[in-house]
Symmetry: C2
Subunit: 393 residues, 2 copies
């Protein structure tokens, strides 16, 4: 019987991390070994805290470290991954960080299983085909509308047919400036391209403040308005959805279990459900969300902002859903995220890309880059050294 | 202007921690200093991980350590606590563990503010009176029905007029055994006492398995059935609530923000909303839940299973709600939880207790006990030692 022999975490970071809303400034890579092979996954986010949740001492029966449910467990098929997930749900119930930690491990387990079976992860998840997706360039708004315009022009020149602007100044100054950003984005993109807007929860639970931006978003022909509110502000989501004519709401990247995503669809009335496989508990729950979305008239979209390992993972859960065509694509990640993998998912001549046909996630890790960006971590509790990252090599 | 000068964490643990569902086996105590005084709070749960979320390096603008929003900030009045909370919501949005960490800090801030103003925390929260609560003895089911019976008899002898049995064997063997436990509990308690049952999410999302237990719970006159499902399984909660005649559902201890608690009431149809101030983000959001519950015909109940510091904190958010009378009371905590404080909230002759009239939380920390149970923690990232607990003294 094949068992999970080891789980290693690699905390990688750019030399300098700034307060910009760019999630590619660090990464937590996970390597799982079983049966003489290894699989790779990536957790999103906060490397130190997610590592701590794997190695921490047990607090009580329902607050055990994630590692306790993983190490030494059987890994023969997908059902073993589900069983570990269910055990973590009970045994790490009171450990809030657990889903983020488990996500990267879970992804690595699918990668590993795919390598053993010589099949891509999406096949193991039950799909027959990996359909092409239309990537949107995901980037931050400019500081001023003129910069947003230039960024839009540049994205169009780079042959992107869909562009998302996010965060930055929106909701932080006045309504007029926000409107100028929206129309600058559309002007720069031209009439044809899809335009999406992400405001990063800036309105908290203030439905009216968000609703004030709707007419300008309609005017700019925005496909969706993303994360107007706190991930859990379901009633506010529903109220805004009702107030909107053409602009649909999008959200879900903060969902750390299947239920939260379901609630955004059922109660929050989002039109697009965006799932980060590195947060929701990995490919299993993300695939479940995709199935629920497809059955309920909601469009599934991946959420990813780091490496192409994370990108591949994020595509697997809806690779087989032909109609769910749009995908997030890290447009201008930091060097770390680019260097981390030897191969990359590039767009074809039509501007499309697809989850790889290669086994597992189909991504090769660049160990030279891992060494170059590695941050040394040591955690000691009492006399016990729980983790010391140089052991990894 | 008074500023938050320091935040120290004390990871305390029993020498041995077992897999039993007893949350009093360790504790994370928080001490905040400002203006020459200190306030105390307690986080629930997983000390190491919550500490890591306070000191971790920033990942990006929306994934900053909790400490970044706390240290050096103004602390003049309650509005300063709200402002810090709002900032953490945005700046630590992607740090899943943040609410658990912040909870203990927030509680300590109220304690500190109460000491400065010479007022109990519940007055600062806006209440005029602290009404007596009827504590229920909160304990685990026995291994076998006969032991459950004996525990019930013992609780009645100890003059408890309300008893909650939880976790243990329920849902893990057969229906018949569960029914025997329920009826043994009632038999041991006699006809008068309130009986509550907590099954610790054992049914996951299986409404039918939970519904099979309802007739026996009705028969035993259970006041509520607590946590039949995953904290976020709102549709399942609602379905079971609809299937029940007299037994109301209770839940909410896993809520780590106001919204999650509101959803359990609005969508999940619970009759009792149970809030752990040490998880939901402290007294502020817990008070907000209490107000929402009172306005919507739901009964607020504290959730607490550790020290009397945590007990006092858990009572503050609904101290002024006379009708919301029942309170959880750690019946048989580990020595650590008892030793941690110099004073304790004891029941009066009628078997009632109330949130203290003394300033802040009204609880004195036993520094001797803190030293005795202290677990040494060291976290190092790169060349930077982020935390080393012996510095605390």
């Amino acid at each position: 019987m094949r068992k999970i022999e080891s789980v290693d975490f690699f905390y990688l970071s750019m030399p300098e991390v700034t307060t910009e809303g760019d999630g590619s400034q660090d990464a937590l890579l996970v390597r799982v070994a079983a049966g003489g092979r290894v699989g790779w996954g990536e957790c999103e986010a906060s490397p130190l805290v997610s590592i701590a949740a794997f190695v921490c001492p047990m607090s009580h029966g329902a607050c055990r470290p994630v590692g306790a449910s993983v190490l030494g467990r059987r890994l023969e098929g997908p059902e073993d991954i589900s069983r570990i997930a269910a055990q973590i749900e009970l045994d790490s119930m009171d450990l809030l960080q657990a889903p983020h930690t488990w996500s990267g491990v879970e992804i690595a387990l699918w990668d590993l299983l795919g390598k053993f079976r010589d099949e891509p992860a999406w096949k193991l998840l039950g799909y027959r085909h990996s359909f092409p997706k239309l990537p949107y360039a995901s980037q931050l708004f400019g500081e001023r509308p003129q910069q947003t315009y230039q960024l839009a022009v540049k994205a169009r020149k780079n042959n992107y047919r869909a562009v998302k602007f996010g965060w930055g100044p929106i909701g932080r100054s006045d309504l007029k400036t926000d409107i100028e950003h929206f129309s600058a984005a559309r002007e720069g993109l031209g009439k044809e391209a899809f335009l999406m807007v992400d405001v990063g929860q800036i309105f908290g639970s203030d439905v009216q403040a968000a609703a004030l931006r709707l007419p300008a978003l309609e005017e700019a022909g925005a496909l969706w308005l993303e994360e107007p509110f706190h991930t859990s502000a379901l009633q506010e989501y529903a109220a805004l959805a009702q107030a909107s004519r053409n602009v649909k709401l999008a959200g879900g990247e903060g969902a750390h279990n299947f239920y939260m995503a379901r609630h955004l669809m059922t109660y929050g009335k989002v039109g697009y459900i965006q799932i980060d496989a590195g947060r929701i508990g990995g490919l299993g729950p993300a695939k479940r969300v995709a199935g629920y979305a497809a059955a309920n008239g909601v469009t599934f979209v991946n959420h990813t902002f780091t490496s192409h390992l994370a990108l591949s993972a994020s595509l697997q859960p809806y690779a087989g859903l032909r109609e769910h065509e749009i995908c997030e694509y890290p447009f201008a990640p930091k060097a770390l995220a680019r260097d981390l993998t030897l191969n990359h998912l590039e767009r074809d001549d039509n501007g499309y890309l697809a989850a790889p046909e290669a086994p597992g996630l189909g991504i090769e890790i660049n160990m030279q880059a891992v060494k170059a960006y590695l941050v040394d971590v040591e955690i000691r509790v009492g006399r016990k050294r729980l983790l010391s990252s140089p052991d990894h090599f």
